[in-house]
Amino acid sequence: MFNTGSELLKLCEEKNAKIYDMVILKEMEATGLSKEEVLDKMKGTLEVMQASATAGLNKELISNTGITGGNSKRVEDYRKKGNTFAGEIVNSAMAMALSTSEVNASMGRICAAPTAGASGILPSTILSAKDKLNLSDDMLINGLYTAAGVGQIVARIATISGAEGGCQAECGVAAAMGAAAIVEMSGGSPQQALNAAGFALANILGLVCDPIGGLVEFPCNLRNASGVVNGLISADMALAGVQAPIPFDEIVEAMYKVGIALPETLRETALGGLAATPTARELTKHIIEQNK
């Protein structure tokens, strides 16, 4: 039905449809399920996301290794004091992204979106939109389908694996998925949704995957927090009408080429970047010793 952004936009135009309409239709064709069944399936996903994005707000969740945790509650407590610099929505979104990251690192239940390492971004995006725009669960589910459609295109023409394409392929793609979802849930056009997705990717092109010890903790947690904000501002820029001189598909291709051009040390091997700093090496040694 569609494999690229341009094919998707053409379909949306022909049928006067939203991206989520086409993604739902494609899923029905691929699985043989009815529209109700397809929509129903996403309810479970939304529930998991809502739970993971809120679990850490009021409770310190400490990771399996003990090196990270409690940051979601820190940001949430700070936000509640009402004296933040970047404001309510940004701080609340960061706290919710950190929450899912902490649930993941402490071996709780999450939904990979598109991966476990980037799993904090989309739930926080969707819940931020719910709070801001006062949306029904049905609309949130539509937003998740918009997001999935963007993910499908990137996975098909590029990659969503940090080992293959670096963090841009995980947190960058999650932000792109979230940005497109916000645009459609806000009533923006399919073209604006893909512009937003493209902005989110362009903003972090080249971002490397370099977590301490190769474990999904630091800086993955920070990149989930900054990733959700990247999605929010990309959506706002697209809705404001910021120009997109390069089409989404070409940005995705560029992301892929940048990804495979990254040295292996910067692709989830814990051999470069922050993972190769003296402190990270000490921490890694400590994690191994401590568990023996």
Partner: protein, 222 residues
């Protein structure tokens, strides 16, 4: 280029932190337990590559144990699997090793019994929670566990395969793939099907002359 469904992108729902090191490990443990017979008193996990290097940090150890206890990758009890194993008097050992030319996330799961020989399953976690099983107690195989599976061992003679496939066909079960190998006089057949292999099929196949082992695993996907 592969086609991705919506739930390949938004999924799996899993216990963190890593789809390959945690969710895939739980799936490998579970499928190994389904293939092995019950009554084991000890399980050894021989860890290879990245599994050997990072298994504690990623909770691969907890996930593998959860799998052999029959828990799903999304079960929150996964985290307490060491304790559940202990409560069930199940002995566990992790051994870091080199299994040779294999994917970096590979484990050989060895089941020990008091009254019979050891039994093992070897498989890899290949990303996104997906797995491939490559060896069952010395028999080389290759399957993902996404389809129902039937594993049969029989004294090799003419007609066994045709009897099995006609039973499947009579019961309206389509064969997706079939792998057959033979060592001396004993043949091993691994058959992946498109639909569930119901009990009646299993019973009819088990009555075919010469069959010494039959195991059906309907699916590992939750």
């Amino acid at each position: 280029m592969k086609d991705y469904t919506v739930f390949d992108i938004l999924g799996p729902v899993m216990i963190g932190p890593s789809s390959s090191h945690t969710a895939g490990a739980a799936r490998l443990g579970k499928i190994a337990k389904d293939i092995a017979s019950e009554g084991f008193y000890k399980v050894e996990f021989h860890l290879h590559g990245s599994f050997a290097k990072t298994y504690r940090g990623h909770g691969t150890d907890k996930a593998l144990i959860a799998g052999i206890l029959g828990l799903d990758p999304a079960d929150e009890k996964l985290k307490e699997s060491f304790k559940i194993a202990k409560d069930n008097n199940l002995e566990i050992e992790f051994i870091e090793t080199d299994l040779g030319h294999h994917h970096p996330n590979t484990v050989k799961i060895l089941f020990k019994y008091k009254d019979k020989d050891d039994f093992y399953v070897l498989g890899s976690s290949i990303g996104g929670g997906n797995i491939v099983v490559y060896n069952i107690n010395g028999d080389e195989v290759e399957f993902t566990g996404l389809n129902p599976i039937m594993l049969v061992k029989y004294k090799d003679k003419k007609g066994v395969i045709s009897k099995i496939s006609s039973i499947l066909s009579e019961m309206d079960i389509n064969i997706a793939t079939m792998q057959v190998s033979r060592e001396r006089n004993l043949a091993t057949m691994l058959c992946e099907t498109d639909s569930k292999i119901i009990k009646e099929v299993e019973e009819r196949i088990s009555r075919i002359e010469g069959i010494t082992y039959l195991r059906v695993i309907n699916t590992i996907r939750s």
